[in-house]
């Protein structure tokens, strides 16, 4: 199960709207980066065979089964840090992140 904060859901709806197409947003992990795994957030135009979907506040979240192992229980937030803004994973499985925060280990 992956959830969204209210702000994150709102931003996703806006971005999907602006893009004008796409059925939802994919969250995934990829094995790269300096600390093992990295998060991926993409628009989704079509589903893959091993995808699982969640509905939260009107947004369809798409996760492949392998990524779900690493992401289950995560809450996706949208925050502002100074002038920088973007999505942020609050992932209970995450043990440590690399210095720059772009990758993590579980």
């Amino acid at each position: 199960m992956i959830a969204l904060t209210e702000v994150a859901a709102d931003r996703m709806r806006t971005f999907l709207n602006n893009r004008g197409k796409g059925m939802g947003v994919r969250v995934a992990v990829r094995t790269t980066g300096c600390s093992g795994l990295a998060y991926v957030i993409e628009f989704v135009d079509e589903l893959q065979s091993d995808d699982v979907t969640f509905e939260d506040q009107g947004v369809t979240l798409v996760v492949d089964k392998k990524s779900l192992l690493y992401l289950d229980g995560s809450v996706l937030d949208y925050t502002k840090e100074g002038l920088n803004e973007g999505f942020k994973f609050n992932n209970p499985n995450e043990k440590e992140t690399c210095g720059c925060g772009e990758s993590f280990t579980v």
Binding site: R26, V40, L83, N84
Partner: protein, 626 residues
Amino acid sequence: MALLQISEPGCAPAPHQHKRAVGIDLGTTYSLVATMQSGQAKIIEDEAGRSLLPSVVHFGTEGVSVGYPAISLGQEDPLNCIYSIKRLMGRGATDINRVRESLPFKLGKPQTDSLVPHIATACGPKTAVEISSLILTRLKARAELALAGDIEGAVITVPAYFDEAQRQATKDAARLAGIPVLRLLSEPTAAAIAYGLDRREDSLVAVFDLGGGTFDFSLLHLQNGIFEVIAVGGDAHLGGDDFDHCIADWILDSAQIDDLADTEVGNLLAVAKRAKEKLTHQSEVKILWPSDLYGEIALTLSRQQFDSMVRPLVEKAVQVCRRTLNQAQLETDEIAQVVLVGGATRVPLVQQAVADCFNKTPLTDLDPDTVVALGAAIQADVLIGNQPDTDLLLLDVVPLSLGIETMGGLVEKIIPRNATLPIAKAQQFTTYKDGQTALTLHVLQGERELADECRSLARFILHGIPPMTAGAARIEVRFELDADGLLQVSARELSSGVENRIEVKPSYGLSDVEIETMLRESIAQGGQDMQLRQLRETQVDAQRLLEALHTAIQEDGEQLLSAEERLALEEAMQDLNQVLSGDSLAAIKQSIDTLENLSDPFAARRMNHAVSEALSGHKLEEFQDD
């Protein structure tokens, strides 16, 4: 941890691979920076949530400030506060002298080692490039905070008519600010990209850009996703500020104030500007001007009244559109889309006038103040490689023809005006004198026929041409303009292969006003220019004839001419010499004819003489084919 953005399917960047690219609108009054976030272009705001950075720099004894703080400091210390520096970009000391009076700041004494004008400030002399780089540095800092890292590439917009010198100056300013420039992009093209017009089918797009002080009109041709700027027009002294002045004049009229004190001008204009902005959404506005000198003045201005005040100005802009269309030989109904740029296009009358002129509703969905920066950000994202699927390619045009000076101070155009970039063109030239071993190449930009009336961009010399008869050498001059509009000129003597080249990094250039003026003059004076060209060409012919005859008389005069013949020839030469410097084409032509008639027998005798010299002592058989 790092904050994430939503990517296109399959395009999520690996960690550390998303490149931070921005688009920068370096404007005359305001500058902006934008970037792509989660699939859309977004203006990067400052800490206080403001999008616009006033293009104002204040040099104080305490230090330098940029933007809003500079404006407030400038009220106490106007001489050290630099506005509108973009108007000086790429201009030389000689250009500035002409506009010196109208500049709001003091220029320093020209530096002996530099053609670039320096502005005297409390922090020492500063160039336009340095001042622009301070504005860019501020935008870069804003972007780096927002994107949490170094900027890896930027697209900076420039007016479509910016010449080589102005483009180079803009690039220099970016380099000074430590910003890697991916591309300079023309402002109208950026606006069209922001509206996603590049993804439509092939069509013509008009961009109507009415800013605070300048008006630019551009016609873009979209073909296979490629934009080509096909024509530009404009008025360097027409903008929203003029609307403010109209309202201010009306207030003074209504309040019967004849002589406005200088101290009240700023105050009154601010009141006028607010009234104009309110009239965008309201049909009438109450004006309250709490003047220190004239007491409190309260008036009501209706939109109808306002419209009739500014109608002549709006009509002027529409005329520019019509003229530009005419020049490009296009009809208004061929234009598929009209894009509005610049704050003054919010005025309802402007939108109405544009709609009437083009017979279609202009695009107004995006904020006209930010649309150029947004387009630049989209382009930057593509160029730096964050969107591997798109292949947006942009074409720009040469604003004014490029060429070289030939004998007699004439201009030979090599790259014509409105040619699309990148472009390379070559033309062959030859030597003018016997045994000439060097050739000076004078690179010029402009539409006129005479070198004096075009802009000098660079000079260089091709040395080492093997001595040959005049006209025998073949020198290929090649002009190459890259996609950014930067010029390289090379000259190569084809028989010997000697070559020289120059990258044109001129220290001064043309202003938009000058380009307008030059274009207008070239049209108005087309006929006169042609006559002048003929005169110069005839003068060159005459000089060539005189020189050839002079050499011939030196060599063979004694031997082949009788005393009377020689006297007659020398008299005719003197006659020609006398009319040569005058401006009567007919007189010079007549003298040339007389001299040629007189010298024909001499030329024939010289030829015979040369042949018999060559043949004497040889047998006929030696000249027969084996």
